[in-house]
Every structure is written in C-alpha cells, then in structure tokens.
Amino acid sequence: MAGPATRGLLATALPLIVKRIASGLLTLLLVSLVVFFIAQLLPGDMAQELLGQAATADAVAALREKFGLDQPAPERYVRWLLGMLTGDPGYSMVANMPVADVIAARLPNSLLLAALAALVSVPVALTIGILSAMHRDTRLDRGLNVATLSMVALPEFLVATLAVLIFSVQLRWLPSIALVPADASPWLILRALAMPVLSLAVIVIAQMARMTRAAIIQQLNQAYVEMALLKGIKPARVVLTHVLPNAIGPIVNAMVLSLSYLLGGAVIVETIFNYPGLASLMVNAVTSRDMPLLQACAMIFCTAYLLLALIADTAAILANPRLRNR
C-alpha cells in the first residue's frame, strides 16, 4: 500500500503545497515592496544619521552617493531585492558591518527563545485544551477558561516585571536578565531564559488552548465519536486516538499562528529581560534609520510568518487523508 499511497500523496497533496508555496512567495514579494517603501517614509536617512550633527550638506550628499541613496527608489528597491535573492541583505552603516553578520549574531537567540517558548507552551496548551474540551461546560472547563483568560488579561510587561520581582528579586531563583555568554552551559542558558520563555508562553498558551478546545469540541460533535463511545472505548482514549488525528489540522493552524507571535512580538520581553533578540534589533534599526537592517529584519519576520503558515497548511493537508490520498 505504501506505493500507491505515496503516489497519491504526490499526486494530490503536492500540487496543493506547491500552490501554497507559490502564493507565499507572491506575498513575500508584496511584503518586500511594502517594507521597502515604508522604510523610505521614515524621516531622515542613514547618511544623516551616520554623519551625526556635524554633517554638512555636501558631506551628506557624498555619502548618499557612496551608498547609492541618491538613486531613485524603484532602482534601489530592485537592487535591494536582487541582493536579498542572492543572500546579500546589504551593509549596515550604523553597526559598520554587513547586515548578514548583525543578524547572524541575533537570529539564533530569537530562534532559541521562540523554540523554547513553543516547547513549553504547546504541550501545556494542548493539555488544557483537551482537558477543557473533554469536560466541557463543567467546573473544570470553566476554571481552566478563567485561568487562561487571566493569563492574557494583563499587559505582558506587567506580567514579566512581576515575574522578575518574585523569582529574581525576592526568591533569587532565576536571573532577571537573559544575557548569557555564548559559552555558557546549557543549564545556565535554560535558567537565564526561563522567565522570558514563561512570559512569552503565558501570552500564547491561552490563545492556543482556546483554539484547541474549540477544534476538539467541533470533532466531539461528529458521529464517529459517538460511534467510538458505543464501541465501548473510554472517553479519554476516544479523544486521544480518534479525535486528535482529526483535529490536528485546525490545532496546528492555531498553534503556528500563535507561535509566529513569538518572533516578532517578543519586543517587550526582549526589552525587559535585556535579551539580544531580533525584535529589539529591529526596533534599534528603526530608530537609527538603519534601513538595510530594518528591511532585512522585516523580511525575516514576514518570511517566518509565511513559513509557519505554510507549515500549518501542509500539516492540514497531510493530516487529512482525503487530501493525502484519494
């Protein structure tokens, strides 16, 4: 059966995925346009910023010429786009090094933080979602609902600061800043990242748990669930072996969209915990008018989002046997 099933996969799922990739690439192109031209709207430019207050008009002009800033925007856009396509996002005049290097120093941090936050939040959210779906409209469900709601009911910076006060200042369990040397031991890294990870996780768990609950309840209303119960299978087992495989599409979708927040939405957490991530780098880039860096960061966030969306769609396609094989 493996043969035909695989062929089926190639025949039906692949075109769908390819189509999704194509539309993702189209979106990315649109994003690049928007990003580039929004960046152009920012008052002031790199040449001015670089020369500082001592800049004279002709010095600025000379620098602009040197960086190609004097050319028309469409031309610069095309050059930038071509650069991006060939993997060269340009040179950051502010940091005085290639954008790729600046980002290379930060991106792993962001990815690590996001990955750890995902690692914590996904199982917790799944558990909460499944538990409340199974016990829907009971006290447990309502309790979990209020609990997850309260998690998002407070501004994240307050939650994060409160966590620092309790766990760092009072209890001294965890460090208050997530700045770890590159050669730190994994244990040290985990300790340092514990609070940023938890702060981020708290934000996304509620959303994911609620979506999981909704997806599972929707499945619980299906006839096959009743059938499984009438086959004498215990409810917990029904949820795990019958409902989850069917609910996985919407659940993954919800998870992935929530997780996309972990990259770009981490500005506040990065600030409070002094974590050198990509989001604060981009904030930096905005304020220092470091356009190549800003544009590259924006493209990374957008690509990450689109990749995640692609993963969600692919998961939905693969989880659905109708699409997987016919």
Binding site: L230, I233, P321, R322
Partner: protein, 587 residues
C-alpha cells in the same frame, strides 16, 4: 424469563420534556425486533438506551433494560464501556459519518475486539477479513487498508456491520442502516445483514422508518409515535392487520398512489427543450448527451442514484452551471448558458426548489420576507399588495397567513418545504424544478407535499421537472420519466412505458430493488446473477456506463462499442446494445 432482551417502563427526558415515555418490549434470543416510527418518535433514543447511552442533553430517567443477565441501566461507566461494542453492538445510520475519516478501516473494525481483549490484533484482523468475505465486500483482504473516503456508502455500511459483529455480540442494534443508501445498494446490504446476523445467532433490534424494509428484516414490530408505543406485535400481524390508527396511516403513506392527473406528452412546441447537453465541473464530465423536452403543464420525472447527475441537470437548466456543449431552449428561445447572461424574466420563469428546506430558507429572514422577495424582485409588489399576495400564497400552500411574521427556524420540516415551494410560486413561473423535495421528509409529510404539487399543477398549469431517487414517488407524479445513470440518460419514456418488462438493465435493477411491503420478498428475489465475464474494455471507447454492474452485458459488444439509442416495445428509448434491454435475459 425466556426473553433475551427485556425493556420495562423506559423513560428518557431531554431538558424538562419527556421524549421516551414508558416504553417496554421484549425480544427472544435470536429474534429481530423492529422499532418503527417517524422522526421524533424516539426510536433511536430507545435503541441507544439499550446500551445505557443517552446523547448530550438527554437523560435516562427510569425503567429497566435487561440484556441477557445484565441489568444495563444499573451499570457504572466502566461496566457500560465493557458492555458496549462487546456484548451489545451498534450499527449507525450514516456509516460515512460514523467512521473516523483519518484512520484506516481495519484499525477501526478490529478496535472493539482488541479493546475488549477478545483477541489479539492478528486474530482480529483474520476474523475481520472473514467477515468482509461473508458480507460480500470486494477485495476482502485489502479493503481494510483503505480510508473511509475511498469507499462507497454501501461498502461502509457493510464494513460497519463487520465492526459490529467482530466480537460476536449477543445483541446487535441496527439504526436505519440502509436509509442513506441507494435502493439498488440497499437490497444487497439488507441481504448481507440478514445473513450475517443469522449466522451469529445474535438478537437484533432494527430501527427504521421504512415499513417495506422492516418487513424483510423483523420478526416483531414495535410502532412508535412521539416516544410512546402505539402497537407491538408480530411482523406479519402488524403489516397485514394493523390495529392502531397511526400504524394504518404509516402503511398508507408507504405506498404512494398516483396523485397527478395525466399531463400532455411530448408536443411540437415544448416549454423546455434540451439537446445534446454535456456538462461538468472543471475537467470532470458529469452529464453526457442529455436530450429531453417538457411540455407546458407536463411533469418530467428524473430518477437516478446519488451521483447520477440529477441535481447537476437542474443546475444547468437554472443557469448555475453553464454546459460545456448543447443547448437549453425555453419556450422556443435558446437560453444563455450562464445565469449572469440571463435576464430577469428568464430567471423568473424557471424556479428551482431545493431538496433541503432547512438550508434553502435563510434563517435570518421571516417567512414574509422569503416569500415577499420574489414578489418585489420580479413583480415590483410592495407594501399592502405584497402582504396580501403573501397571504394568498400561504393560503395556496395551506399554511395560515399568520406565519408571515415568523422566522422559519421554529417551523416543522413539512411547513418549511411548503414555504420553499411558495417562494418558487411567488415568481409565477412556468416551470418548477423540484430537487428531491420529499426525500428529507417523513413519508406521511412527503405524501402531503406530493398532493400539494399535483394540486398546484392542476390549478396553475405548471410544468415540473421532478427529481427523485425513489421510483415510487416519481411514478406517483410524473408523466414522463427519464432514468439517469452516471450522467447518461439510459432510458426515457412515458410513465406507462416503465410498466413493460422490456427496459434498460439498470431500470430493471432499480425497479426490482424496491422492497415490497410484505415479509419474504427479500428471500424471493434471490441473489442477483453475477455479471458474465467480458473482455478487457476497449481503451478510450465511450462504453456503456452500466457495463461493470450489468448482469446482461455481452462480451465482444458491450465492452467494445458505444451503445446506441433504440426504442423498446413499451415505447421508451433506451441506451443499450441489447435491442430489448433486460427483457431477453429476464425471461
């Protein structure tokens, strides 16, 4: 205590209202009891109560259910779980919905046996394959590897029977197991069920609304209405000498009689004329070479199983799906293929009535809004005149005018279908296309709708295109009948032409598959002859669609050449190589 299953004083409540009240019956070991009733009669609720199960919002409030020596209602959750799917098993109405779409068939079929520790996985699979074989499923060895969406409804229904029987249960509950099936499939599934249950020696409860089906399956019948037992007796007695008034009403509705006066046959200037019509979705062709005419005031019945293209035909005529070739002419004028190119008047004169009134009526609108919209849209009728006309239309469909202000959410199925019809009437059309308008209704209610249609035809001179899967219903109303099989028009002719023996093999199968309302009919039918061997069908040739299932196919002809259209002695036209269709083989 010689009964195997005994139910006493069963009460089930939903919210504050009682939906099953004081129901009791008993079944001897190996007996088959039918629970029969219309929707809302509580038959499924009772069936589920036999397993100690009540749906969300319902509660078993009292009574006893004994299966063998087990008092079901006194069991705790673990006890019930141990009982369900093991000693008592359940076959649900819609196998398509009751199989988990994302798991392989085999996993699901062996699950009860493995879950209850009856046997290990390997033994269970072997037993499953044996059951597949005895249920006459194709490819019994490999069918378990497939997913539900890869199988047909009839196959799934039989697979569910295998799933129910794999633990060797002492009681099998069959809840409308063939209702969702085509009639030609139903007969085979019934036969398979009957044999399998008998082989197991299991006691069975058969839940159905269909008396003819019940007649084939049950030893005893319990007639239910609104959660109460109306009549309880041996099958022969209930069917032949019904004691209860309600049972007699059911019996009457089960055999629809001719309701319509004869309409004109084919005439020279037809109202609707379709020539050489082909249509499909994307690259998938659905309809092939359809030719038909409907005269003013006449009724064409279109019959065929699910997927035969009946509804697509209506959509093409309505302009919702432009045909890929061929023409649709209305009142002598060729209609533009797409809806967007038709004018208001062309739209007005052909109205489509959908099968399911629940989805065809916008829940956000009131009855008055729904009927009033075509009045305003086509005829510019507003204000008091519109209100008056809505009242008239409601009167025409025999509903009180006071309904106009209500939302349609709280109306009954029959009322909704009437409003659905009234909306079409409001346009003052010449042709109404009725797509399965009685299928979703209880038999009694459906019969009343048929009466109404016939009456409207008589009074307003309407023409109908009446689409149904049920030959009896079509015969009751149509003047001409067209049989669709896999998008091809296999037989067309006057209604009376179908009484003749010579007909298309598919028509023959269709008519022969409708169960009759007497016990023993199923056994008389005997198994259908296995289709004779044929050669490898010729590649690329436009062969007869029915070829794979045809018991009268001819090797060397049917598998090589496109079938011709030819007349039958009864005056119908059939698409078949055999000059007289099925008659020769049948005689």
């Amino acid at each position: 205590m010689n009964s195997h299953v005994e139910v006493r004083g069963l009460n089930v409540v939903a919210g504050g209202t009682s939906i099953v009240a004081d129901v009791g019956f008993s079944i001897p070991r190996g007996g088959v009891l039918a629970l029969i009733g219309e929707s809302g009669s509580g038959k499924t609720t009772i069936a589920m109560a036999l397993m100690g199960y009540a749906r969300l919002g319902c509660r078993i409030a009292g009574g006893t259910v004994r299966v063998g020596d087990k008092d079901v209602l006194s069991l705790d959750e673990d006890g019930l779980a141990a009982l369900r799917g093991d000693r008592v098993s359940y076959i649900a109405q819609s196998a398509a919905a009751s199989f988990n779409p994302s798991r392989r068939i085999m996993d699901q079929v062996v699950e009860p046996a493995v879950n209850h520790g009856r046997m290990d996985r390997k033994a269970a699979e072997a037993k499953a394959v044996a059951l597949f074989r005895s249920l006459a499923l194709p490819d019994p060895d490999s069918i378990g590897e497939r997913y539900p969406h890869q199988l047909s409804g009839g196959q799934l229904q039989r697979l569910m029977a295998a799933m129910a029987l794999i633990t060797g249960p002492e009681l099998v509950i069959l809840d409308e197991p063939t209702t969702a099936l085509d009639v030609t499939t139903q007969i085979e599934v019934l036969r398979a069920f009957k044999q399998a249950v008998r082989e197991q020696g299991a006691t069975a409860v058969y839940v159905s609304h269909d008396l003819a089906v019940v007649a084939q399956m049950a030893d005893a019948i319990v007639v239910l209405n609104k959660g109460r037992v109306r009549e309880n007796g041996a099958a022969v007695q209930v069917l032949q000498q019904p004691q209860d008034e309600y049972t007699r009403t059911l019996m009457a509705a089960a055999r629809p009689e001719r309701v319509a006066v004869e309409g004109p046959g084919a005439v020279r200037a037809p109202l609707l004329e379709i020539k050489g019509l082909n249509a499909g979705y994307g690259a998938t062709p659905i309809l092939r070479d359809i030719n038909l005419t409907i005269a003013r005031g006449a009724t064409l019945g279109v019959i065929g199983e699910s997927g035969s293209g009946k509804s697509t035909l209506a959509r093409v005529i309505a302009g919702m799906l432009p045909p890929s070739s061929g023409s649709v002419s209305f009142d002598g004028v060729r209609l533009p293929p797409a809806l967007s190119m038709r004018n208001k008047e062309q739209c007005r004169r052909i109205q489509l009535v959908f099968q399911n009134a629940d989805t065809a009526l916008n829940p956000a609108h009131s009855v008055g809004d729904i009927i009033g919209r075509p009045l305003a849209f086509y005829h510019g009728l507003k204000g008091a005149a519109a209100v008056r006309r809505v009242a008239e239309l409601l009167d025409l469909i025999k509903l009180p005018a006071s309904l106009a202000g209500r939302a349609c959410g709280g109306l009954s199925g029959g009322q909704k279908q009437r409003i659905n019809l009234a909306r079409a009437l409001a346009a003052k059309p010449d042709l109404i296309m009725c797509d399965e308008v009685t299928s979703a209704l209880d038999t009694v209610v459906g019969a009343a709708i048929l009466d109404l249609l016939a009456e409207l035809k008589r009074e307003l001179g309407l023409a109908y295109l009446f689409i149904s899967h049920d030959i009896a219903t079509v015969r009751a109303i149509a003047d001409d009948i067209m049989v669709l099989y896999a998008g091809t028009q296999v037989e067309t002719g006057r209604r009376q032409g179908y009484d003749a023996v010579a007909r298309h093999p598919y028509t023959d199968l269709l008519i022969g598959s409708v169960p009759e309302l007497r016990p023993g009919w199923l056994e008389e039918q005997g198994a259908r002859p296995v289709p004779p061997a044929i050669r490898q069908p010729k590649d690329g040739a436009d062969l007869c669609r029915f070829l794979p299932r045809c018991s009268w196919r001819v090797s060397g002809t049917c598998d090589q050449f496109t079938p011709p259209r030819r007349p039958t002695p009864g005056g119908n036209t059939i698409l078949c190589h055999r000059p007289e269709g099925a008659s020769e083989g049948a005689s």
